[in-house]
Symmetry: C2
Subunit: 428 residues, 2 copies
């Protein structure tokens, strides 16, 4: 029953009942967190055999003969580079392994570009005001990096098959100060969208006024499927090469949500031109990443097939959680015309859109009753959702019984705020 079709008295009656429910839930003193994409304990346990440290049987040696306890191999040990290159669909000389944070590798890529430029730059990016395209809703931590460096962010709409490419192409072709774009191309944060082949090809082939334009392709959820029919993402590196733009893309990923967020391995893939320049700068920046952790990961994960098998165990833990959230969304909000949401086939989030102007109020109400949701607006540049509609739900961390309580409370909040909105009673 679409709520906007109801009369004022019916709505007021519903509101009254919902407020009673809200107060009842609030009195339970909930303390639940659905704000960040954190793996749960059961997921972390999956990787504990990694800590058996089998490398001791190999004398801590990489296949290259390098003692991983000592200095050396600034871009990673060969067997780990080979494994993760295959995972990302690039060659072994198109990848650099980092520490445990791919966010840090993205930050570094931006920071180096600002100070020194990228391969093909005529000058450092920081010499003049520059801009980034930000498909939104998107990942708040991407936007925080560009904001920190004073890079102007231009919001680009997300379509069901990826960023609105008409806008991306038009702006990139006409404005030389647009130096790049943030993308989460697979199971996007928060929408769970995987970019279509057409979108990937348009990214690879589009004209950019800036000769040193870079796509920051954050493939964070490359193998993070929730179903047996995973989305397929076209290989952006291959497409860029085919289109004659081999240097256009920086691909990022990590094992944060494969093994441990607190002790994983981050990676950057790019053309050899890009990699060679970055390695040169890295040789001044650092003595290199933790190689023992690379050895540990390689011996545990073994192969891309091994990673895929491992990810099925994650999916078995996560799928029921997503189903719980989706079930409650459907039972509480379905058919009422006050919210839309996606059913992702992978990734870490469910993205929900309320009626315009309702997101902030709903998140606030939930927080006041002990359920923390990602702040409304966080999924947009500068934390500003122009329609105040988007809310990101992160179902992975809480146990299912807590998820049920959190979602009941949250959906009650959405209903209360929506009805107030329909009644013209919502304070902005």
């Amino acid at each position: 029953m679409v709520l906007s079709a109801l009369g004022k008295n019916e709505l007021k009656q519903m509101l009254s009942e919902l407020i009673t429910r809200y107060e009842g839930l609030k009195s339970q003193n909930l303390n639940l967190d659905m704000s960040r994409g954190r793996p749960c304990t059961e997921q972390l346990n999956l990787s504990d055999p990694m800590m058996e440290n089998l490398f001791r049987d190999y004398g801590f040696k990489s296949e290259s003969g390098t003692d991983c306890r000592n200095y050396g191999l600034i871009d990673g040990i060969p067997e780990a580079k080979r494994l993760f290159a295959e995972l990302l669909g690039v060659s072994e000389n198109e990848i650099i392994l980092g520490g445990n944070s791919s966010l840090n590798m993205m930050y570094d890529a931006i920071a180096r570009a600002m100070s020194f430029g990228v391969y093909g730059s005529r000058e450092p990016w920081g010499r003049k005001p520059i801009k980034f395209l930000c498909p939104s809703p998107g990942y708040d931590r991407h936007f925080a990096i560009t904001e920190l460096f004073g890079i102007e962010m231009i919001t680009v709409k997300m379509n069901p098959d990826g960023p609105d490419m008409d806008t991306v192409e038009r702006l990139s072709a006409e404005d030389e100060s647009i130096k790049g774009i943030w993308c989460v191309p697979k199971y996007s944060n928060p929408d769970g969208i995987t970019y279509s082949d057409t979108v990937v090809r348009r990214f690879a082939a589009m004209k950019t006024k800036a000769p040193d334009f870079r796509i920051f392709w954050d493939n964070a959820y490359v193998v993070h499927h929730l179903t047996d029919e995973p989305d397929e993402l076209l290989n952006i590196m291959d497409e860029c090469k085919k289109a004659g733009n081999p240097d256009r893309v920086f691909i990022f990923s990590s094992t944060s949500k494969i093994t441990y967020p607190g002790a994983g391995i981050a990676m950057l893939a790019a053309s050899q031109n890009n990699i060679q320049l970055i390695k040169k700068q890295l040789s001044i920046q650092t003595i290199g990443p933790d190689k023992i952790n690379q050895l540990r990961h390689t011996l545990f994960l073994k192969s891309v097939q091994g990673i895929k098998e491992h990810m099925k165990k994650h999916a078995a833990i996560l799928k029921p959680k997503f189903d719980t959230v989706l079930g409650i969304l459907e039972s509480e909000l379905g058919g009422k015309g006050i919210a839309e949401w996606n059913s992702p086939k992978g990734g870490y989030f469910i993205s929900l859109n309320t009626l315009p102007g309702c997101a902030t109020a709903a998140v606030k109400m939930a927080k006041e009753a002990g359920v923390v949701i990602t702040p409304a607006g966080a999924t947009y540049p500068y934390g500003h959702d122009p329609e105040d509609r988007n809310i990101r739900l992160a179902p992975t961390l809480p146990p299912i019984d807590e998820l049920k309580k959190a979602m009941e409370l949250f959906t009650v909040c959405v209903q209360i705020v929506s009805i107030k909105k329909l009644l013209g009673e919502l304070n902005r």
Copy 2:
């Protein structure tokens, strides 16, 4: 017998014999490396019990209750912060733990200062041309960072008790564009000098024209003693506070040469004002360092006393190597008036000064016979030693029998080059 007192014929006779020795050594096809301060395998073995991963008994939990496998604690786990804060003589809220590379933390500190400024900056350092003071001979990788960022480097002479403070004070007081100085205050690289109390106090108290001047205090060898009578270094943080300049110093260190260079823990200590600003920036830069490695280190090293006991085992391995090098220097070069060197009480290097204009030629000759020494000049900004005298010897990596061969060859090269110099036969 001082060679300069000998006649031409005597020198020529000596030269002829030395060249015969050189050719003999060269024919052995040596392949030895004394170029970098790498720990040897026996040293690495000392920390292998760390890999027993005792943290599994604690459910991977930090004392704070945080699961170290997951996200969180961007500045480090409390027990590791407490341990390393005590090691560096600061409080727990004056330290940030990083990844495995203190060089990377120094690079980041410079990079952030260039892009955003430091606490108290009126503008980013990169907005105008700036300069750094570089006590030399010094650490080539420090100089490489400032060179990369286009920071002009001013060489400052090293005295036996630290940098020439008359020069440091005069330049810092008169030139606002001088924003900082590189220091290795204990067992300095390469001289093995520990700064005197007077030098430390002058650093803390000196006037700087730049209000946001920073001392980059790389305390890399804080517990890296070779003798039972270690040098004592005054606590720069305490002195800066006493002098009313609490925000002046960034202290860096790491466990690279305590546990593993390839998988250690780096740290930055500074005033709370500095730390708070850096933590704010870090929260955008990274999801935080590898916390499991912090847990691993804390459980293995246990306490500052534990670290000190552990370092005695390193010293037991290293002392004979340093003694070997010093013995050969004395027997081959002693009393000949062609070279001077130090006998450090800690650290990783022996610094040798040849006659002016001889260092490059001696290192080149050694390399041609298969012994790699740190390139001459590397210990000066821009790789330029104005007198071409300083050579850094790194005795830690090779086994003693190899060290003997390498040092015999090297000292033969120094003698050949010196005699050619005295004979006026040295080509520049």
